[in-house]
Structures are given as structure tokens and as C-alpha cells.
């Protein structure tokens, strides 16, 4: 198996909800350049846009002077997407279970659950000096 050289790309956007489409385009472009199949591209796009939405809305609370940094890295058949905000952070274990009967009709609260279901790995880090970084990983068949 030939190991693809490491590829690392970064996008920084202001915390405006409408920027989500730009973030998605950036991410999908990188995935397609690495020849990931359509189904994997959309799973990763679904998961990554969840994290970017959370960073814009919950982390940075739509403050356009705060930025969201998106890092996409490919190495050894694993794609990693890291989304960092400048917010107050949060405790992922305190997020209510979206499958509980009383939560089924709520409009929100399924993002992290969906990311966990679609990806191989999801980790949360507090960034020194404030902010949260959320990192997802998914393996793929490198060309």
C-alpha cells in the first residue's frame, strides 16, 4: 500500500450563519480531490457542517468578530476535520439524549449524535486561551 503524502488545508471564516455554504464547498472540494466516493463525501459534509454550525451558533454565538477555523487533513487513509471556535466551550457529556421520547419532537439537539453515528471518531478539546476544538476522523480507501 502506497502511503499518500500528508495534505493539510485550512479555512478561517467569520461567525455568520450564511458562511456554512462556503465551509461546505471548501471541505467537499478537498474530499473530491482525494477521490473519496460520493457517499463518503456527503457523510463527511453532513458531519462537518454540524460542527461548523455549532461553532458559529453555540460557540461564537454569531459574533462576526469571532472566527471559526476549519482544518482538513488527509494522511494514511484517514481524513481528519477539526473545527475550532472562540467561544466558552461546553461539556459534551451534558448534551441530552436526542433519542429520548420527550426529545423526539424537538427541533434541535441531534448534531453531535449524528456526527458520532456517521464518523469513526469524534473528540473534543478545550483550546488554550478559550474556545473549543472538535475533531472528527473517518477512514477511506486512498487512491
Amino acid at each position: 500500500m502506497s502511503q499518500a503524502p500528508r495534505d493539510s488545508r485550512r479555512l478561517v471564516i467569520p461567525s455568520e450563519p450564511a458562511r456554512i455554504a462556503q465551509a461546505d464547498e471548501f471541505i467537499e472540494k478537498a474530499l473530491r480531490e482525494h477521490d473519496l466516493p460520493d457517499g463518503l463525501v456527503s457523510d463527511l459534509a453532513i458531519a462537518a457542517t454540524e460542527l461548523v454550525n455549532n461553532a458559529i451558533l453555540h460557540g461564537n454565538k454569531k459574533d462576526p468578530s469571532k472566527s471559526v477555523t476549519i482544518l482538513v487533513e488527509f494522511s494514511s487513509g484517514v481524513v481528519m476535520i477539526r473545527v475550532e471556535d472562540q467561544g466558552a466551550g461546553f461539556d459534551p457529556s451534558a448534551v441530552p439524549d436526542p433519542l429520548a421520547q420527550e426529545n423526539l419532537l424537538r427541533e434541535v439537539g441531534r448534531g453531535i449524535f449524528i456526527v458520532r453515528s456517521l464518523m469513526d471518531d469524534l473528540t473534543f478539546e478545550r483550546v488554550p486561551g478559550g474556545g473549543m476544538a472538535v475533531v472528527l476522523r473517518k477512514s477511506y480507501d486512498p487512491a
Binding site: 450563519p17 450564511a18 458562511r19 456554512i20 455554504a21 461546505d24 457517499g39 456527503s42 459534509a45 453532513i46 458531519a47 457542517t49 454540524e50 454550525n53 436526542p98 433519542l99 423526539l104 419532537l105 424537538r106 427541533e107 434541535v108 441531534r110 448534531g111 449524535f113 449524528i114 453515528s117
Partner: protein
């Protein structure tokens, strides 16, 4: 996401197109649902055939559309749920919440005779 609307047998059919990922998407669909409520078009089918993918934002839009219509004595049903969306509905257990049909025609006729 783009949104088109048509009517068939007294039922409003909304067809979103593209990706439903957040940003302005929720506002567009919410305003459309409220226009329908104001026009007393309370039987609504969402045709998902042209949706590439959606994240939890899209699911939230479908839920709020359905609850708003039900609160106003109407209902929202799904048609042409793609495999990708079907699997999201399954893992989130929302499959138990929505009424879904294999075609727009079936969804429309599930509403029964025109009120």
C-alpha cells in the same frame, strides 16, 4: 437549498433542492410554512427527491414544519425519502415521527378527499 411550490388536489407540495445544511435554509422553509398557514393551505407534502443531503438542520426544519402545521390543524408528510435521508431518520428515530410515502401521488392521496 432552493424551494419550489406547487399544488395538487388541495395539497401544497414543497420541493427543496440541493443541500439543507443550515444558514438561511431554516428561515426560508419556516416563512413558507407560515405563508401556507396564513393561506389556510394546511395539507403539505415535502418532496425530498431533489435533496442531495441534509444535516440535523434539515431534520429540524421538517419537524418544526410538521409541528407548526399540526398546531394549526394541518399536517406535513414526506415523499421520495432518499436512502441517505432514510438512514438519518432511522438512526435519529424520527422515522417513527414522520409519515413517509414512496411518491408524491401517494402522499397527496393519503390526505383523503379535498376538504
Amino acid at each position: 437549498m432552493q424551494l419550489t411550490e406547487r399544488e395538487e388536489g388541495g395539497v401544497a407540495i414543497l420541493q427543496p433542492k440541493g443541500k439543507i445544511m443550515g444558514g438561511p435554509d431554516a428561515t426560508i422553509l419556516r416563512e413558507k410554512i407560515h405563508d401556507l398557514v396564513s393561506d389556510k393551505k394546511l395539507r403539505v407534502v415535502i418532496d425530498l427527491s431533489k435533496v442531495d443531503w441534509m444535516n440535523s438542520n434539515g431534520l429540524g426544519i421538517l419537524i418544526s414544519g410538521m409541528t407548526t402545521l399540526r398546531d394549526n390543524q394541518g399536517d406535513l408528510k414526506l415523499a421520495n425519502v432518499t436512502d441517505k435521508i432514510q438512514s438519518l431518520l432511522t438512526i435519529t428515530k424520527l422515522i417513527t415521527v414522520f409519515e413517509a410515502y414512496d411518491s408524491v401521488e401517494e402522499a397527496v392521496s393519503s390526505f383523503g378527499a379535498r376538504a
